[in-house]
Amino acid sequence: MPEGTTKRMELVCPAGTPAALRAAADAGADAIYCGFANETNARNFPGLNFSPSELADGVAYAHAKGARVLVAINTFAQAGQIHLWEEAVNDAASAGADAVIAADIAVLQHAATNHPDLRLHLSVQAAANTPEAIRFYAETFGVKRVVLPRVLSVPEIAALNREIDVETEVFVFGGLCVMTEGRCALSSYATGKSPNLTGVCSPPDHVDYTEDPSGRLQARLGGFTIDSFESGQAAGYPTLCKGQFSAIEKTGYLFEDPVSLNAFELLEELSSAGVTALKIEGRQRGKAYIAGVVKAFRQAVDGLESGADARPAIAALKAFSEGGQQTAGSYKKTWR
């Protein structure tokens, strides 16, 4: 979409369970993204995700509420197991999904060839951040939208939108991946599992929390101590890129303290930059998070047109954030 267009931006919301999908639809999501309970999606956590029949029911519920359903099949297919990813695409199409979000060119090729009417979105996992890369996916597979990596600033997004005809979707709230997604091997190094192949970053079966009698909490991943928190201090999940490290005689966080993304203050700029859709992260979060965040951002997006003040609703979301802190992340690039 060309820069400067003021079309109402679409609110794309997460759902890790059918109950969360219903909560998102009820709270006013324009679109809801979810995945199957296997390695085909990048939130392959225990107890999460959908069976094919649950997805079909979820699509029916969302459509009745006027919301679309986007199915994330966004890990990279493994040699000898491509059928798992192909079946996922087929199941999404059969369930009446409105789009598939994919990264692997084999998955995109299967969808484009066998389901030509199924809309394709390029996952953030593809890490496509140049006009050339995005045009390749659009021309080769008919991709209609690209989810941009969380490493671009607003001016960079605006510049990108000026050169492409594909819709862009950006993350505005939730857990913050500070690496170039789809190319990060930190979790794989520590645990043997990665979001790229097994669909899970910092898998919980490798996570260990130990609290000593003083209340000091140590968070470990794959045997590595990632961080520690004093009694009463807000804690975080032990994701390697968000840990504390010692180097050059200094100990500190690589980028920022454990924080979550909140780009509420940038919504107008993102709209002016030609962004089509705003994405909320958090398929691993509960219904209370989904309902609260979607409702607040619904007010925020609608407020861009109506002028209604959504700041109180957005301010109340701070408690949902990792470490109890929020950042505008790469959009402002304040990291050292």
């Binding site: 225990p46 107890g47 609290e211 909490l217 509960g286 409702k295 949902f320």
Partner: protein
């Protein structure tokens, strides 16, 4: 930054009144309703995955006992034990009682409670996550737990909600709300 001592704790008097009560009748009731829930909704066991048959300890900070939960196709059970008798548990979840109830029905967000240290976990994190996600999907209102439907479920849910509101109000007078968003959605 609030810590567990400032959370939504029941007054100590409640714990003192509960401590001498016999455990067996409550264990039998909780186990029976849990078995009926699992039989009625087999999809919940599929969602639990590896956690089926695994004992998980639920330890309310402000109550005298712990609950040992084991979910299974036929032998689901809830036993009530001393807090020092949970060594069989593969994972332990600790929080004030009213916070734990809020997790059951989806009032609170588990991650947010963990970030603020209102909820603590030990042992196998993947088991806790699987249980949490399954409970999220279960939508465990009192009516659903007791296997009710229609008007009777609505009535029980209404009464339950009012009692919880009262209990939270009472607890808030002696402590404070958890720092997470505690409002029902």
């Amino acid at each position: 930054m609030p810590n567990q001592s400032s959370s939504l704790n029941l007054p100590p008097l409640v714990s003192s009144l509960i401590a001498p009560l016999p455990k067996s009748p409550m264990e039998m009731l909780l186990s029976a309703f849990t078995k009926r829930l699992v039989a009625r909704r087999p999809e919940l066991l599929r969602r639990l995955g590896a956690v089926v048959k695994v004992p998980i300890a639920i330890v309310p900070d402000d109550m005298p006992h712990a609950f040992l939960l084991s979910l299974d196709n036929e032998k689901s059970s809830v036993s009530i034990c001393e807090k020092t008798e949970i060594s069989d548990a593969q994972a332990v979840v600790r929080a004030p009682f009213l916070v734990l109830l809020g997790l059951l029905d989806g009032t609170y967000d588990g991650d947010a409670l963990f970030f603020t240290r209102d909820l603590r976990i030990e042992g196998k994190t993947d088991y806790v996550l699987a249980l949490r996600n399954t409970l999220e999907e279960a939508d465990l209102s009192p009516g659903e737990f007791f296997g009710l439907s229609g008007r009777s479920a609505d009535w029980v849910n209404g009464v339950g909600a009012r009692m919880l509101d009262k209990a939270r109000w009472l607890a808030a007078r002696t402590g404070s709300q958890p720092s997470t968003l505690g409002r029902p959605h």
